[in-house]
C-alpha cells in the first residue's frame, strides 16, 4: 500500500493533506457500515470527477473496497482518469441491475473498481427504481460506493441519485459563481430530501 504524490510541490502537498482530511471525514461518516455517497456540484467543471477519483483511491488504499460510479452522462471522466475501455458501464447496469458485475471494471489500484458511463442518449431520464435496486446491490458488495454525479443545474438525474444515496457532498469551486447559485442547488437537494453531509471547496488559489 503506497501513497505518493507525483511531484512534491506546495500545492500538491496541500492537496494531499486536504484529500486526507476529506478521507477522514468520509470514513468517520461511514462508521463501519456500507454506504453510498454522491459527489455533485451546482455548476459544470467543478472538479467532482477529480475528487471522486482521488477520494476513492485514498479510501481503497486505507483497506476498504470501493466502487466509483460515473454518473456524469453528458461528460464522463472516470474512464479517462482510470484508463478504462470497452465496457458498457452504468447504462447496462441500470437496464438490468442484477447484472451489475458486467458493468464494473477493476482498476490498477487494489480494492478499487469503476463503473463507467457510456450512455448513448444522454437526454434519456434514468429510472429511479433501477437506481435504488442497483445501489442496494452495490452496497452489499462494496464498503463504499462513490457516485460521481453531474451538476445539479444541468441534470435532473442527479437529484434522483441524491434522493436514494446515504450522503451527498457538494463541490464548490472557489470564486466561480455567486452564492445564490449554490443556495439554489442546495434548495433543489433539500426538495429531493437529499442527505447533504458537507461540501468540498476546490480550486482554491493562493
Amino acid at each position: 500500500m503506497h501513497l505518493t504524490p507525483f511531484r512534491s510541490t506546495r500545492s500538491v502537498a496541500k492537496a494531499l493533506e486536504q484529500y486526507r482530511s476529506l478521507q477522514v471525514h468520509i470514513q468517520l461518516w461511514l462508521d463501519k457500515s456500507s454506504k453510498t455517497l454522491l459527489i455533485t456540484s451546482a455548476l459544470p467543471q467543478a472538479g467532482t470527477s477529480t475528487i471522486s477519483a482521488n477520494l476513492a483511491t485514498l479510501i481503497a488504499y486505507s483497506g476498504h473496497e470501493v466502487l466509483v460510479v460515473d454518473a456524469c452522462v453528458k461528460r464522463p471522466q472516470l474512464s479517462h482518469i482510470f484508463g478504462i475501455r470497452g465496457i458498457s458501464g452504468l447504462t447496462s447496469a441500470l437496464q438490468d441491475p442484477y447484472k451489475w458485475e458486467d458493468a464494473v471494471k477493476e482498476t490498477r489500484i487494489a480494492r478499487l473498481w469503476v463503473m463507467p458511463s457510456w450512455q448513448k442518449e444522454p437526454n434519456q431520464l434514468v429510472d429511479g427504481a433501477a437506481i435504488m435496486t442497483l445501489l442496494d446491490l452495490l452496497r452489499q458488495r462494496y464498503g463504499i460506493v462513490i457516485i460521481d454525479g453531474a451538476n445539479i443545474m444541468d441534470s435532473a438525474d442527479t437529484l434522483m441519485w441524491a434522493r436514494v444515496v446515504d450522503g451527498v457532498v457538494l463541490v464548490v469551486p472557489s470564486g466561480r459563481a455567486s452564492r445564490h447559485v449554490y443556495l439554489k442547488a442546495l434548495s433543489e437537494l433539500e426538495y429531493a430530501h437529499a442527505p447533504v453531509i458537507g461540501s468540498v471547496l476546490t480550486q482554491m488559489r493562493g
Binding site: A15, L16, S21, N54, S178, H180, Y182, M204
Partner: protein
C-alpha cells in the same frame, strides 16, 4: 507575515490602479498641460540726499509701484519686447508689488517660456525706471535685481500633481476594494461556505496545475514507492478513528 485574504484578493488591481493613475498624472502634467515660467525683477527706490531721504523713499515706493502698473509702462514695455504682445496681455501676466516697510518693488511676470518671462519682467522694470525719470527729472529708481530666466516651470508642479494623484488613487483603490468586497457574492473561502450555505466544509483543495500531476487529476499514484507517506496517511486515519471511538 501572512497577508489577509481580502487584501490579497484586491492587491493586484489596487496596485495597478495606483501605478496607472500616478503614471497618467505624470504624463498629463509633463506632456499635456501648458508650462508656465515665472520671473521677477526688483526695483529699488533711491533715497534722496536730504535728511528725510530714506523716509521719503519709503513713502514713494507705493507710488512708483502704481506707476509700474500704468498704461504708459505697459505700452512702452510691450513695444520693446522681442515678441509681439499687447499691453493688455502683458498687464494680465504681470504682478507688481511694493514690499511693505522697504523701498523695494517686485515685478513678477508669467510667460510660456523662461526667457520671455525674464525679458518681460526686465522690460517692465526698465519702462518704469524711464517713466519715473521722465516724471521726476531725476533717476529715483534703480534695477536692484534683474529678472533671470527660471530653470524650472512654475506650473505644472509635477511633484505636487503626482503626489496628489498617488494619494487620491490609493484612497480610491481602497474604497473600490471595499466596495468590491462588499458586493462580492462569490464563495471564496471556507468561511464563506459555512456562513452562506450553512454546511460543513470537509476539505479545501487548492488548485493544482495539470502539469504538476502530469495531466492526470489523480494526485496519488500506485506506481511509486514511498512507505513513509503511506504510513502517515494510514496513521492519520487510525488516529481519527480512535478519537471517534473513545468516550
Amino acid at each position: 507575515m501572512k497577508m489577509p485574504k481580502p487584501v490579497k484578493r484586491h492587491l493586484a488591481l489596487s496596485l495597478s490602479l495606483v501605478v496607472l493613475t500616478t503614471a497618467l498624472a505624470g504624463v498629463v502634467s509633463h506632456f499635456v498641460l501648458s508650462k508656465a515660467y515665472t520671473s521677477t525683477a526688483t526695483l529699488i527706490v533711491m533715497p534722496g540726499n536730504n535728511a528725510n531721504g530714506l523716509i521719503s523713499a519709503l513713502q514713494l515706493t507705493p507710488t512708483f509701484a502704481d506707476l509700474a502698473t500704468s498704461n504708459l509702462v505697459w505700452d512702452k514695455a510691450s513695444r520693446t519686447l522681442p515678441v509681439v504682445l499687447s499691453p493688455a496681455t502683458l498687464q494680465s501676466r504681470t504682478h507688481v508689488d511694493a514690499i511693505t516697510n522697504t523701498d523695494l518693488i517686485t515685478i513678477t511676470t508669467t510667460a510660456p517660456s523662461a526667457s520671455l518671462a525674464a525679458a518681460e519682467a526686465t522690460q517692465i522694470a526698465m519702462a518704469t525706471m524711464t517713466a519715473a525719470r521722465q516724471l521726476t527729472g531725476s533717476s529715483p529708481l534703480e534695477l536692484s535685481s534683474p529678472a533671470a530666466p527660471p530653470l524650472a516651470p512654475s506650473f505644472p508642479d509635477m511633484k505636487k500633481i503626482e503626489l496628489m494623484a498617488f494619494s487620491l488613487s490609493v484612497m480610491g483603490s481602497v474604497f473600490l476594494a471595499a466596495l468590491r468586497e462588499h458586493f462580492n457574492t462569490h464563495l471564496e473561502s471556507e468561511d464563506d461556505v459555512t456562513k452562506w450555505l450553512k454546511i460543513p466544509v470537509l476539505a479545501a483543495i487548492p488548485h493544482v496545475a495539470p502539469r504538476l500531476v502530469r495531466n492526470n487529476p489523480l494526485v496519488f499514484s500506485d506506481n511509486r514507492v514511498d512507505k513513509e507517506e503511506a504510513k502517515n496517511a494510514l496513521n492519520t486515519v487510525q488516529i481519527h478513528a480512535q478519537r471517534r471511538e473513545s468516550p
